[in-house]
């Protein structure tokens, strides 16, 4: 019970601030916390990125290995995205098989990359029906102060850029890089008592009535959406949240991702 009381006090604090047009860390409603992107920290991975958004830290590693294609797509490579909410990252995370939160995190990031056809999967075919390149995106959370999705998605797309396919390591002949055709960026918009704000921290997440993650692309199109939360959203609200998502994604892309 003690925990619930603290939780309620913390929510009330967030509500009070928001209703006065403020956030605990002094940000505007449409401001992200500081973002730091560091590439290639893990030399065992073909691509890796540490993304820090405020106090949230995510490490994403990409590994590329040969494997067998799915029977229904014999000429296409395989993309697999996995997320671990390891107990190191938060007092709320527990060890054990992936829970629904980590499955959702992985699937939302995956959807953005898949939906935008960011990776040219057909270029990853080695021998039709027999052997293709498999791209594993592994999201490792290190510190959770909210908005893991946006951090993980930025880490994933950054890691995918400039990957050399490891032909030699697996005794295959060839030389190629991973073909990347888009740079999808996720922006999560939270609704707290009718107010919209981006990049919620963990206290704001727990106070949010609704969240909408918008993943958008270079041309402004949307390649992934995920709503979470306890109540319904009006059409007007959804349109507004989507607009905010696309606009903020454009800003992040300009600042942290190369033009392709």
């Amino acid at each position: 019970m003690g925990q619930e009381v603290i939780e309620d006090i913390r929510k009330d604090y967030v509500y009070d601030l928001i209703e006065n047009g403020k956030r605990a860390d002094g940000r505007g409603f449409l401001d992200f916390r500081d973002i730091v992107v560091e590439r290639d920290l893990i030399n065992k991975a073909e691509g890796s990125t540490r993304v820090q958004i405020g106090d949230t830290v995510v490490l994403v590693g990409v590994k590329v290995e040969p494997g067998t294609p799915f029977p229904d797509t014999p000429n296409k490579g395989v993309l697999m995205t996995n997320a671990e909410l390891v107990p190191l990252a938060s007092p709320e995370f527990e060890s054990g098989p992936p829970g629904e939160d980590s499955i959702e995190l992985a699937r939302v990031v995956d959807r953005g990359i898949r939906g935008s056809e960011t990776i040219d999967l057909e270029a990853l075919c080695i021998e039709e029906g027999e052997k293709v390149w498999m791209v594993f995106i592994d999201i490792h959370t290190l510190d959770n102060d909210g908005n893991l999705v946006d951090a993980a998605a930025l880490g994933a797309i950054t890691s995918l850029l400039n990957i050399d396919i490891p032909y030699e390591q697996y005794g295959l002949t060839g030389k190629d890089t991973l073909h990347i055709r888009d740079t999808p960026v996720a922006v999560t918009v939270a609704e707290i008592r009718g107010n919209l704000l981006v990049d919620p921290n963990v206290a704001e997440e727990s106070a949010a009535t609704n969240k909408l993650t918008v993943i958008s692309n270079v041309d402004g199109s949307i390649s992934g959406l995920q709503k979470s939360g306890s109540t319904g959203l009006t059409e007007e609200m959804i349109v507004k949240m989507t607009e905010i998502g696309i606009e903020k994604a454009r800003e992040i892309r300009e600042k942290y991702l190369p033009k392709i």
């Binding site: 991975a45 590994k63 107990p87 990252a89 992936p98």
Partner: protein, 242 residues
């Protein structure tokens, strides 16, 4: 140990250029995570490990509570991208064993009797692996426990020795581990010179074992000084260590 014909010692030197009794470069950072009660980032050569400590806090599930002392939980986990061939996520037999021996390496120094019925949880994530991850994990965990303010009798320091091309050497890297003849990790409480972890893989003569043990204990003493220095460095910056 794989059978191999790789020459690990050439003209009296290791492939990395290190001396027989030389550790890989070590980097220690204290308090690197915000949500954890204590944390530490530890690099040993190409190994990168991070440890977080939570607690003492309520023990779940409750029937694991001990009425007289805190229970230490230790989880060693490798990131899927930490090794050459992607590791399937989640615990396997190896990481479960490492978790167990690592917990037992730390148990003796923690004043567990001060916190009955609670859990002290230690989480170690290996982000990049190059042989010696369990020792890096224990070194990180021990500093993270101190950073969390858990009362301890001393820090625990850990390193491996091994045998390559017939020579007993300190702190094997991955190549030496794969093609060497023996690998022996230890953990030690420096103040009392007591060993809290000892494992061995491969084959050593009695004389080699004894020499190796001495060498490993010396290595632990060096790491112990670095651990202490890292803690002092963090907590001397300002009064409350924040």
């Amino acid at each position: 140990m794989k059978e191999g014909k790789i020459e690990l010692i050439k003209d009296g030197a290791r492939l990395s250029g290190r001396g027989f009794e030389e550790l890989r470069p070590i980097k220690i950072e204290v308090g690197v995570l915000k949500r954890a009660d204590g944390s530490c980032y530890f690099e040993l050569g190409d190994n990168k490990a991070i440890a977080a400590v939570y607690g003492p806090r309520e023990m779940h599930p409750r029937h694991f509570q001990n009425a007289k002392r805190a229970v230490v939980k230790y989880r060693y986990n490798m990131a899927p991208f930490s090794v050459d061939d992607r590791k399937r996520p989640g615990p396997d037999r190896r990481s479960q064993e490492i978790s167990m021996v690592s917990r037992k390496a730390l148990d003796p120094v923690i004043l567990r009797e001060l916190y009955p019925k609670t859990a002290i949880e230690v989480y170690v994530e290996v982000l990049q692996s190059d042989a010696g991850t369990r020792t890096a994990g224990i070194n990180a965990a021990s500093v993270a426990l101190a950073d969390a303010g858990i009362p301890m009798r001393d820090l625990v320091s850990s390193v491996a020795i091994g045998k390559i091309d017939g020579e007993v050497v300190l702190d094997l890297d991955a190549k030496e581990d794969n093609f060497g003849e023996a690998d022996m990790p230890i953990a030690m409480v420096a103040r009392t010179n007591t060993i809290t972890l000892l494992q061995m893989d491969g084959r050593l003569k009695k004389e080699e074992f004894e020499r190796g043990l001495k060498l490993a204990m010396n290595g632990c003493r060096k790491i112990y000084e670095l651990q202490k220095a890292a803690l002092v460095e963090k907590y001397s910056k300002n009064g409350n260590g924040a």
